[in-house]
């Protein structure tokens, strides 16, 4: 089927089978390799993208489901060369180590702070618990997201 989708503000289209995983179509058809596969079953969150502003695992979405909708991938998070405040905080606080989970973590943090700008630390941990990181023990990521949250307040 013909899929029309807005990705990072740009209208894109592709002719493909509607049952293909959104993850594969993003990587193989649109060359958006920032969306990663970690488990292929919705556990790890490495393939997180925002669909109509909501956080989803792109390995669990058939591309037919995004027809006519809008997506944000990690490639659309920075404003040109200027990193999003969450991305910068992840660097400053050491929230990215090996980096394979980082695109998903960054997008999920953006969603969490937009959804609940005043979320407590505990609540942020809950909101982000669909994204697994094996390197950091999560502390540096939590500290980075809280810092971005405080930056947004001031």
């Amino acid at each position: 089927m013909k899929i029309e989708v807005t990705i990072n503000g740009e209208k894109r289209q592709v002719e493909t089978a509607g049952h293909r995983r959104l993850l594969d179509v993003l990587r193989d058809e649109f060359a958006l390799f920032g969306t990663k596969e970690g488990c292929g079953e919705g556990e790890c969150g490495a393939c997180t993208v925002l669909l109509e502003g909501e956080v989803v695992n792109s390995c669990l979405i058939a591309v037919g489901q995004v027809n006519g909708k809008s997506l944000t991938t990690i490639e659309g998070m920075a404003d040109g060369q200027t990193l999003h405040v969450i991305q910068q905080a992840l660097i400053d606080f050491g929230g990215a180590q090996c980096g394979i989970c980082t695109p998903g973590v960054a997008l999920c943090a953006k969603w969490a702070l937009e959804k609940e700008p005043n979320a407590s630390k505990e609540r942020l941990r809950e909101l982000m618990s669909g994204n697994i990181c094996r390197c950091t023990g999560y502390q540096a990521i939590v500290d980075a997201v809280v810092s971005a949250q405080e930056g947004a307040d001031s």
């Binding site: 990587r27 958006l32 390799f33 920032g34 969306t35 990663k36 596969e37 970690g38 488990c39 292929g40 079953e41 556990e43 790890c44 490495a46 991938t73 990690i74 490639e75 998070m77 920075a78 990193l83 991305q87 910068q88 992840l90 660097i91 400053d92 606080f93 050491g94 990215a96 180590q97 090996c98 980096g99 394979i100 989970c101 980082t102 695109p103 960054a106 630390k121 942020l124 941990r125 809950e126 982000m128 618990s129 669909g130 994204n131 697994i132 990181c133 094996r134 390197c135 950091t136 023990g137 999560y138 502390q139 540096a140 990521i141 939590v142």
Partner: protein, 755 residues
Amino acid sequence: MVENKKLFSVGQDIGRVDGVAKVNGSAQYVDDLSYPGMWHGMTKRSEVAHGVLKAIVKGAGSGETAFDWSDIVVVTAADIPGRNTILLMEEDQPALVSVGNHIRHMDEAVALVAAPTRARALAALGALEIEVEELAAAVTPDEALKAEVKIYGDDNIFKSFLIEKGDEDIDTLLASCAHVVEGTYRTGAQEQMYIETQGMISRWDGENCHIIGSMQCPFYVQKAMRTLLDITDDALVVEQAVTGGGFGGKEEYPSMIAGHAALLAKKAGVPVKLIYERDEDIAATTKRHPSVVKHRMGFDEAGNIVAIDIDVVFDGGAYLTLTPVVLSRGVLHAAGPYRCANTRVRGRAVATNTPPHGAFRGFGAPQTTFAYERQMQKAAKALGMSQFALREKCMLVEGDTTSTSQLLKGSVGSIEVMAAVKEHDAKALDTRIDDSAGASIRRGRGLAFYFHGAGFTGSGEARLAGRATVALSASGQFEVRSSSTDIGQGVRTMFSQISATALGVEVDAIEVVVPATNKVPDSGPTVASRTTMVVGKVVHEASVALREKIEAWAADKGMQGMGLREAGAAMAREEGEVAITSQYKPPEGIEWDDETYTGSAYPCYGWAACLIDVSVDLDTAEVTIDRCVHAVDLGKAINPTIVKGQIEGGTLQSLGWALWEEVIYKGGKVQNDRMTNCIIPTFSDAPEMTTILVEEAFDFGPHGAKGVGEIPMDGPCAAVVNAVEDALGELASASSFDTLPLTPEAIGRALRSVS
């Protein structure tokens, strides 16, 4: 002062040099790479734990028409140009089981397929049939030690060690002790669970082979390929792609995948990408060795340790891989960081018909650390002493000797880490019973104290003689060239800081080259808490020598007073590239006897203490970690943020191993090969962590730095288990807490067995 700070970046929080690429998604991991005409490879695996491979048949498949093999390449052992082995320590492990030979574990590679698409490769895998004569298997060490099924040699023992200290008979001494504490401690396999699964791409240009992928040790891959592909070093390039975590899991196994990808690419005549699926990665690649540690400690009335007797058994799996070295580190740490004149440690690694176990952060020490820190908790109770008091009384300090009779001199942070954690012991446990929802909550506190030898064991670093190059390139850029891979731990950033500080330039003047075997010297593997301490030292020395060379050249040209960047640029214009390669020379006085296992096991040790508070819900048997304070002596933090990240990450891996992580086997086959059922901690499971950096300088490390990569994995596990025991007290027997993981199911069983 600001200027000085910029030129002396060691000790400062520089954001990681590869940070932007990692947060904006542009970093290219192996699965993000492709080459024109590239095909996709997959691995056909055994479905028995032990058997003889009788035939490999291109079958008809299960479709309505016979499977079309015309666009499929199949590789078997018969296609191997060199010797059929993945060489690291011994040649026992084949790259592919050959027809007529033994399959020794489930999910062992027997054949490979490649096709233009993954879908076609998957279909081919389904149509490829293997015929096997199944044999009796020994899937546990107990079964294997009977030696009825022969897996390795006559007795199935890969390696055994004996450490003996003191002249007196251990059994006699123990019989005379006022208090003897005994226990049997069991730990299971642990999956590294790097979020990037393993993978490689290989392509050939005539007789020249290029391999790129996810790995810790490019020169280990090179060594294995020499034998397997019968290829010279000149004809082979092994290059690291951005690597999504390793934790030891990408130390040895990448050689297997590299070999498979190269064999497929050679036969197919096109580049071949071989990326593991998650279930395949969990089922087939190496994990932490399951262990059984029997431990006896005798104390006098005052709480001094009189004698220690330990028996360590590790399950090595079906092939040797790195098992002897893992066992070595396990036994060398087994007696713990405690003073005792009479010690006996016996260790054995046993071959079983399970997928080989291998390197995982800690490398044998976490298993034996769990045992001795459970012992210390029990001993303190038996002696009526506080958990701190007993450990403070017995802990090794400068001037003491370890179980191998190594005299500790310098960089012993035992007193400091214990004091740092003890400050946090003043805060009382929250003893309010939360019965808001009718729940019954018990709270407890646990302590653990431990050490970890940094670098290769004994004379290992002298044998390795790791080299690194610091160069002023022809274009005037400073480059650090080493084979130390950045797998997330931040080595590229820390080497930038070490080199920039030695050269007296800003960090952004340094490019740390991504390792490829044709671009960097062999610095030794990226393992064993050695990278900053050992290779960082070599980088420091080469940088100092390069600076002196540039300064001498500038002085000669009458250019005094010019900054080093400018002088370097001028020198590069006239002289072209200037490169200094240094080689590691271990500190004096490191004497080690491999025969008797006595002497200086490691050049120095990291020291750490961890204090943990937990809540245990008696209705659900769930454990919540309320607080985690971890003090680690690392000599010097080259980059405090990065090193804290190492400690916190290792801490959570240890806590996960204690409470949740469990690889379940049935008949030698992994039963939970998915992230859904092979669980690791999430944001919600992890506690807020307080990390304290203690800096007892190691004079021979760069700026005093010593190893830190592994030590955070060793002890938090025992601290949290000790806390759970403290919380539940009389509600369960002490031995209920001697087997990992302490899942809610295990705690529930322990509670029911007493009530």
